[in-house]
């Protein structure tokens, strides 16, 4: 499996479709334990990303990841904007100028994104944020040469579902204290869609 601009574009486009289709769900989750805008924020970001992908063409994965990071930083706003934006920024740096990435290399790119999120947001696992998807998912598949995309998707889904029973310690939901328990974290959910979109793209493409 080789990941080139084509795969990245397909992945991001699939991500856009997931977000657009689940905009309400994301906002409803955020309504319950936050301020109800996560779906709106993400939809605004991926819409702008779509415009970018439509109008510009890219040579290498690093280039597209960089351009998308700027869109996310400049368009999403809220907490999710800097987090996804920083993630893609670091992913771009990690991808560098390589034309094609192996599965292993691509996992390294995603791990760089995860590090950026942790660095920017200072959250640990168990604090009911998107970190609870990124960190354990990438840990589970660390060092894998080939990825079982069904396992990947199911793991991501399980991880985001696990946030339901967590007591939020970071982000807006933390203000609710114990009342945050019983609701799935919206950012973990959008991250699940990001990873589901990746599975759908690469599973088909494989």
């Amino acid at each position: 499996m080789k990941i080139t601009v084509k795969e990245i574009e397909a992945w991001l486009e699939a991500f856009r479709e997931e977000i657009t289709a689940h905009k309400e769900e994301l906002s409803d989750l955020d309504q319950a334990i936050g301020d109800g805008d996560h779906g709106i924020n993400m939809a605004r970001g991926v819409k702008e990303m779509h415009n970018l992908l439509e109008t510009k063409s890219f040579q290498v994965p690093g280039e597209i990841l960089k351009a998308v990071s700027m869109v996310f930083i400049g368009k999403i706003g809220g907490a999710a904007g800097p987090l996804y934006g920083s993630a893609f920024m670091k992913m771009a740096a990690e991808a560098g100028t390589k034309e094609a990435l192996s599965a292993e290399e691509f996992l390294g790119v995603l791990r760089a994104g995860k590090s950026a999120i942790v660095q920017r947001g200072k959250a640990e696992t168990g604090e009911k944020t998107m970190v609870d998807v990124w960190l354990p998912l990438l840990k589970k598949f660390e060092g894998k040469q080939e990825i079982d995309w069904d396992d990947w998707e199911n793991s991501a889904e399980e991880l985001k579902n696990n946030t339901k029973e967590m007591h939020a310690k970071k982000g807006r939901a933390a203000y609710l204290g114990a009342r945050s328990v019983g609701h799935i974290d919206p950012g973990a959910t959008s991250s699940y869609y990001l990873f589901k979109a990746l599975a759908d793209t690469l599973r088909e493409g494989s």
């Binding site: 109800g36 805008d37 706003g77 907490a79 920083s86």
Partner: protein, 331 residues
């Protein structure tokens, strides 16, 4: 959802244009941004002060732009932090050579976006410092979490830091004064009726006719406790007690009081509330140097109010009374 608007997507843009149309001699909008600056920005030889956050808190923040308070306000989408590029534009526009202070309310999103902007500005050689306001005692203070929210007390940080900057103080001095306010200002809110984010079209929570929410934030978030509807004096007592638990105000101490309406609470009710608050403060023999009643940090059309208490010292007292000439706050 019933709102006096044209297009949900254009609300912030049209609001900003409506502001500059109303106040052409006071405010200027930076082209292609959501930033409003003082007409005469940058003021040379003065520390620039930038604040902002999601929209929906009007008159915060652009209503506080002007001599004696802010140099720029950055408006995000409704209840969504503005992005770093916007904040960066604001910083550049108000830097008069003495550096720029960012006044940030403690929300993960705001902190991260403003911080990124500060990094961008530092990279261009602009001296930037920041303070993070976390006055909301409804939320538990803990080093394990992102900590307390910034709410209405932010207005007093704007006022006092703005007055300090107007005196010609250095960036470090303005920051220090602002930190002093932040350490000594505590707030707590409650609501009777939620608000509806235009883009979502649905209220942030629901309350029955006989319920109220204690400890509500300013983003349509639910509060920390739901109780039956209580009279103003009991509400005042609950808010005061929670603040006092934290502040431990002593007899004779000088304070400033802010009664802040969350959007749709009539001024009549805010003054009734102040009547009840004033009685409690008197029982505690606190010396109220100043009381500010009105809508300063709103949450769209949420009904409810917050109480803010600021402990004064000589400097804060002087700076609180110093002149300010902004659209929403004049002194």
């Amino acid at each position: 959802m019933k709102k006096l608007i044209n297009d949900v997507e254009q609300i912030v843009d049209e609001m900003l244009n409506g502001m500059t149309a109303a106040h052409p001699n006071e405010l200027r909008r930076l082209e292609d941004t959501t930033v409003l600056v003082r007409k005469d920005a940058p003021v040379q030889g003065k520390v620039g002060i930038v604040s902002g956050g999601g929209s929906g808190h009007e008159p915060a923040h652009a209503g506080f732009v002007g001599p004696g308070m802010l140099d720029a306000a950055v408006a995000g989408e409704v209840f969504t932090s503005p992005t770093p590029d916007q904040v960066f534009e604001a910083i550049k526009a108000v830097d008069g050579g003495k550096g720029v202070l960012l006044i940030i309310k403690n929300y993960t999103g705001d902190v991260m976006n403003f911080e990124m902007a500060g990094e961008m500005a530092e990279a261009e050689g602009i001296n930037v410092k920041q303070v993070v306001v976390n006055d909301d005692v409804a939320v538990e203070d803990s080093s394990f979490t992102s900590g307390r929210r910034g709410i209405a007390g932010t207005v007093l940080v704007h006022k006092i830091a703005g007055a300090k900057a107007a005196e010609g103080a250095s960036l470090e001095e303005v920051q220090q004064t602002a930190e002093g306010v932040i350490k000594n200002v505590k707030s707590m809110g409650m609501s009777l009726h939620p608000c509806t984010v235009p883009a979502s079209g649905k209220p942030g929570f629901t309350l029955a006719e006989n319920e109220m929410e204690i400890g509500t934030g300013i983003h349509g978030e639910p509060g920390v406790e739901r109780t039956e509807l209580k009279p103003a004096k009991e509400v005042a007592q609950i808010l005061f007690d929670k603040i006092q638990e934290d502040m431990q105000l002593q007899k004779g101490e000088e304070i400033a009081v802010l009664i802040n309406g969350l959007g749709s609470t009539p001024l009549m009710e805010l003054y009734v509330m102040n009547h009840s608050v004033a009685k409690i403060l008197q029982q505690h023999e606190l010396q109220v140097e100043e009381t500010i009643v009105g809508e300063w940090m709103t949450s769209l059309e949420m009904a409810g109010a917050s109480l803010t208490i600021l402990k004064l010292d000589e400097e804060r007292k002087k700076l609180l009374h110093a002149p300010a000439d902004t659209v929403a706050f004049k002194r």
